[in-house]
């Protein structure tokens, strides 16, 4: 492999110091002189007609500066997919879930704003409440959205190959049903924002978001402000995992009230509001029928999926496509048939969450593959290896595996966990399980139809040559993109990471679709690399004129100019630089011409040196309906082995060890790659064992706190053995592709398979609480 100076290292994060010391400022830390505090009135009912809204008492409360409802906000529909704009800032005719936004108040302090909210009187006429798929799809059920009778928010029907025909060639055919539970994003930082509409009619919104670009467009569209006058800035963000990837009603309300009052307006979600806003993982129910030939060839798959969508669409249209398209690979599966239905219910809206759409399907299928392997008498690892795709293979739904280190991943975890010595040989109560998975490395298309670049980047050198400023609208949300993009810029330009200042998360810095679908490293990385190469070229061209050395004979590395042939006499340039900086402490010295001197020359001869980069994916596969969801310039993949202990008298599962291998193409920062692997595993472990958003019979979230909604604690995480596989992705910058989401795919099924190995029961419903597992074991004993 090529030797690099900055990338493929373990450099510390550029935001590490600020975060470790508390110096980093998040949206909730922001404040401004004269700032107002906003609060929202949200529906206490899951489904009701709004008969009347009386805001008079709230308006009279001293300290209140603005009270807004749909009358002030208007009736513009918005959402995520333009084909399904089904939300308004505030409800006008009816409310569709407990938490639906009805009104907002801005006041001089939060206490006053909250009191004013409690003074708004709404008359409701209650409607039948539909809390699950069954009642929402029932004959004669009331339509939650008038335009969608039957409450089907979206349906997908796809067939690749011929499922029915293929079954005839199969030796084993089995059908299993699998269901997960609605998850919460569980990020540590609740959404927060500060909106400021200035005297010239420019709006700036600081917000805890994964995508400044999508928020900017939505704010402009909904509030009718020219997009050029809307600037969205992302301060430090404490996690997103999907739910922060689109605009929310709070952001829109803050902008609206700032425009009306002329004052900055700040709003912050409580933890309960995070649960009400939701937009996290759906509940999926998959019925999976898999056909396998006698020799163990996986030959056919039929997947019927129902999604409990909640009250609005959000990312759900993409979710229902992903729930079908993310099966198949990484196995050579020639026949696949998919029917998916996303159903509206009177619950908070579900959307995207890490491993978007594919996690439950993967869990159910990888468990089923284990069952089939056992029926065939094959080792689960051998069975998977036999069916594995390789680099260059294309799936039946036209995903091009332009690099695929899947075999290396599986062999890596097999050997790294000492699988051979353990599988089938552990004492009762202890078990080992394996699973695989893959994921897109950036959505191939924007969420709205457009020819736009997905990422742009600009580099501007300081006039003294000493600093490299990188501007990108990408979103550092904790995953480490600022560090990765800084490293890419430094490597491509030939300087050190310390020389690069990363300015990100601001619509004034360019276009970037944001942090979702595991796209920042590949897509923003490309743009940054191009910008750095453009900058380098400009510096070298200027230098070439001065030194009479052809550009091709020069390079920049480690902060100095590399002369591939004879080193010219550059003393004139050095003298010039030293003279200009008389009295400065850090004059260039030594035998090499520094980047700083070269960049200074470039400035003097050509003005500010600016390099630009812009990326969008090339031609992608798939001409069928829905091909836009799942096609990607590259795919990451992973395998995991999990070892568990099951306490047979309590049902308690303890995860003893995890071995995880992920093919990220090329690790720009090895520590960051491992961090994403560990974080994915932790989230998968939580979904497998603990997490479930629960509702009471009126549709209220029953556990809207991190006390009763259980994400794993540090003490629940075992030590993880991480193995990085690098398959050198041709479509990625320096060969890099995703790790942020794909790594979660095998976690749940590996746990399920390990539990089966330990105690011989199969669980088809998450989470695998002690109680559920205990009941399953009890049931088995009875038989």
């Amino acid at each position: 492999m090529k030797a690099y100076n900055v990338i493929n290292t373990r450099l510390p994060r550029v935001d590490g110091r600020a975060k470790a010391t508390g110096d980093a400022r998040y949206a909730a830390d922001l404040s401004m002189p004269g700032m107002l505090y906003g609060a929202m009135l949200q529906s206490p009912l899951a489904h009701a007609k709004i008969l009347n809204i009386d805001t008079s008492a709230a308006k009279r409360l001293p300290g209140v500066r603005d009270v807004v409802t749909w009358k002030e906000a208007g009736l513009v529909k918005y959402g995520v997919s333009p084909a399904r704009y089904d939300e308004q800032v505030f409800c006008s005719d009816k409310v569709r879930y407990v938490g639906d936004e009805v009104a907002a108040v801005a006041a001089i302090d939060l206490e006053t704003a909250m009191e004013a909210v409690s003074l708004i009187k709404v008359d409701y006429e209650e409607l039948p409440v539909l809390l699950d798929i069954g009642s929402a799809m029932a004959e004669g059920a009331i339509a939650i959205h008038e335009d969608f009778p039957g409450n089907i928010s979206a349906e997908v029907h796809q067939e690749f190959g011929n499922f029915e025909e293929a079954l005839k060639e199969c030796h084993i055919v089995r059908t299993d049903t699998f269901t997960n539970k609605r998850q919460d994003g569980g990020f540590l930082e609740p959404q927060a924002c500060l909106a400021r509409y200035d005297l010239n009619g420019n709006l700036t919104l600081w917000s805890s978001t994964q995508s400044v670009h999508y928020v900017q467009r939505s704010v402009a569209m909904v509030l009718g402000i020219p997009v050029g006058k809307v600037r969205v800035v992302k301060p430090y963000v404490g996690g997103g995992f999907g739910p922060k990837a689109a605009v929310n009603a709070m952001e829109l309300a803050a902008c609206l009230m700032s425009r009306r009052t002329g004052k900055p307006v700040k709003m912050v979600f409580s933890r309960e509001q995070v649960f009400l806003h939701s937009r996290a993982r759906h509940q999926f129910t998959h019925e999976l029928t898999t056909g396998v030939k006698k020799d163990g060839t996986i030959f056919a798959l039929r997947n019927v999926c129902h999604l409990d969508g909640g009250a609005y669409s959000s990312f759900g249209i993409a979710t229902i496509y992903y729930a079908g398209s993310l099966l198949g690979a990484p196995y050579k599966l020639p026949n696949m048939k998919y029917d998916g239905y996303r159903i509206y219910t009177n619950k908070p809206t579900c959307g995207a969450q890490r491993g978007h759409g594919g996690v439950a399907a993967r869990a159910g299928w990888e468990q089923q593959l284990d069952i089939i392997a056992a029926e065939l008498g094959m080792d689960p690892v051998e069975f998977r290896l036999k069916n594995m795709m390789q680099t260059g293979d294309v799936t039946c739904n036209d995903f091009n595996m332009s690099s695929l280190g899947m075999k290396e991943c599986l062999e890596g975890v097999r050997d790294g966990s000492n699988w051979g010595a353990k599988k089938g040989k552990l004492p009762k109560g202890k078990g080992i399980g394996v699973a695989c998975g893959f994921f897109v490395s950036g959505a191939g298309y924007p969420i709205y139809r457009s020819e736009t670049f997905h990422s742009t980047a600009t580099i501007r050198l300081t006039e003294d040559g000493g600093g490299v400023n990188l501007y990108t609208a990408s979103a550092e949300i904790g995953q480490g993109s600022d560090t990765i993009l800084g490293q890419i810029a430094a490597e491509a330009l030939g300087v050190s990471l310390d020389d690069v200042r990363v300015h990100s998360g601001d619509t004034d810095f360019g276009v970037d679709l944001g942090a979702y679908s595991s796209r920042q490293t590949l897509m923003s990385g490309h743009a940054v690399k191009m910008a750095a190469e453009d900058t380098k070229r400009k510096v070298l061209e200027a230098l070439s004129e001065q030194l009479n050395v052809p550009v091709e004979e020069m390079d920049i590395a480690r902060g100095v100019i590399v002369f591939k042939k004879d080193k010219p006499d550059f003393s004139r340039l050095r003298t010039l630089y030293i003279k200009e900086h008389r009295g400065w402490a850090d004059q260039p010295s030594g035998a090499e011409l520094t980047f700083r001197e070269a960049a200074r020359v470039a400035f003097i001869t050509g003005g500010v040196i600016i390099g630009n980069g812009a990326y969008k994916p090339g031609e992608l596969g798939g001409k069928y309906k829905g091909a836009a969801v799942g096609t990607s310039p590259a795919y990451g993949c992973s395998a995991q082995v999990v070892e568990v202990t099951v306490d047979e008298e309590t049902g308690k599962v303890t995860i003893d060890a995890m071995t995880d291998a992920h093919d990220c193409g090329f690790a720009i920062n090895r520590t960051n790659v491992e961090g994403q692997m560990q974080g994915s595993l932790s989230m998968g472990l939580g979904e497998a064992l603990f997490e479930e958003v629960r509702f009471d019979e009126k549709g209220r979230v029953a556990n809207a706190s991190l006390g009763e909604y259980r994400i794993p604690t540090a003490l629940d995480m075992p030590n993880v053995k991480t193995i990085i596989i690098e398959s050198d992705e041709p479509n990625g910058p320096f060969g890099a592709k995703e790790v942020g989401e794909g790594a979660i795919m095998p976690t749940i099924p590996a746990i399920l398979n390990a539990i089966y190995d330990a105690v011989g029961v199969r669980i088809n419903e998450l989470p695998i609480t002690s109680e559920r597992l205990f009941a399953a074991m009890k049931e088995k004993r009875k038989k």
Binding site: A39, M114, K652, E708, R710, P712, T713, L715
Partner: protein, 298 residues
């Protein structure tokens, strides 16, 4: 948004000063120790004290010291101090074990033993262990003091016999007879930050290492409105020679002693099943420790 309501805050320098203050405040004042229960409840609006009285400047309330061959623990000793105390660990390992499964390391650094008792949660971790150890609580008021058994202190979820002007000052653990052992086990979902789905504490005293059971205490928590004795299990154990069959019988009887409900943390049936498992396991450990005298006092 849960906002902390406005309140006044006092830090009296002596106990008499504190008691006078509380008596004057009538019901409007509350003691704040670690605040891990109180502040949460104030944010939720379930308690609304106008004054909080902190005893952090009052000397002697954090001490863990010997008393008549047993131990006296100041009400303001933190749960982590108790979990980490060598003295507690060697004399009353059951208490140390229950302390080490309360909340999380961070919560344990703030939470106090006094707060855990007075708050009177049905699933609190320390009371079951303290009850099997035969703990007394020392309550001081402006005009009167009393020392009463913890067994009988609780009257329902969140309620106890403590009166509004009273302060819990010390928890007294009498020395245990020879050949005594005990155990505490809690079942939760996660490895930390769990309110018990079910928990049990047991203590057994034998007349001699290979003798019969002369005293048996089995206390269950999170399966009734307060921590309760598994009375029929206790009765079945006393006078008997310990064996796995005996413990299984006692465990089955304990199932009948509790009245669990189904809530978000767990179903009634599962809780009942867990009572069986926990009673069996704690008795076995108690017996082994009693026989080996490994458990010190209990």
């Amino acid at each position: 948004m849960l906002l902390l309501p406005k309140f006044d805050y006092e830090e009296p320098k002596s106990l008499p000063e504190a008691l006078a203050m509380l008596s004057e405040l009538k019901g409007n004042g509350k003691v704040i120790a670690g605040g891990t229960d109180l502040l949460v409840n104030m944010k939720k609006g379930t308690v609304k004290p106008a004054f909080l009285v902190s005893l952090r400047k009052v000397e002697g309330l954090r001490e863990i010291g010997g008393e008549n061959g047993g131990l006296a623990i100041g009400s303001h000793a933190t749960v982590s101090e108790i979990a980490d105390s060598d003295r507690v660990g060697s004399m009353f390992p059951v208490l140390a074990r229950s302390a080490s499964c309360l909340g999380s390391p961070l919560i344990r650094n703030r939470a106090t033993i006094g707060g855990n008792i007075v708050t009177a949660r049905p699933a609190a971790d320390l009371p079951p262990a303290l009850i099997v150890l035969g703990a007394y609580v020392e309550l001081k008021g402006k005009d009167a003091n009393r020392t009463i058994p913890l067994d009988g202190f609780f009257t329902g979820p969140g309620t106890s016999v403590i009166e509004s002007g009273e302060v819990l000052t010390r928890i007294i653990l009498p020395s245990a007879p020879p050949f005594t052992g005990g155990d505490y086990i809690k079942i939760g979902h996660r490895a930390a930050l769990e309110i018990a789905i079910a928990a049990a504490a047991s203590r057994l005293t034998l007349d001699k290492p290979d003798g019969v059971i002369v005293d048996a205490r089995v206390v269950l928590s999170a399966v009734a409105p307060t921590a309760i004795h598994a009375a029929s299990a206790e009765k079945a154990l006393i006078g008997q020679r310990p064996s796995e069959e005996l413990f299984a019988k006692a465990a089955a009887l304990a199932e009948g002693d509790c009245s669990p409900i189904t809530d978000m943390r767990g179903g009634a049936e599962y809780r009942r099943d867990m009572v069986n498992t926990l009673v069996k396991r704690t008795l076995l450990k108690a017996f082994n420790d009693a026989r080996d005298m490994k458990g010190g006092n209990a």
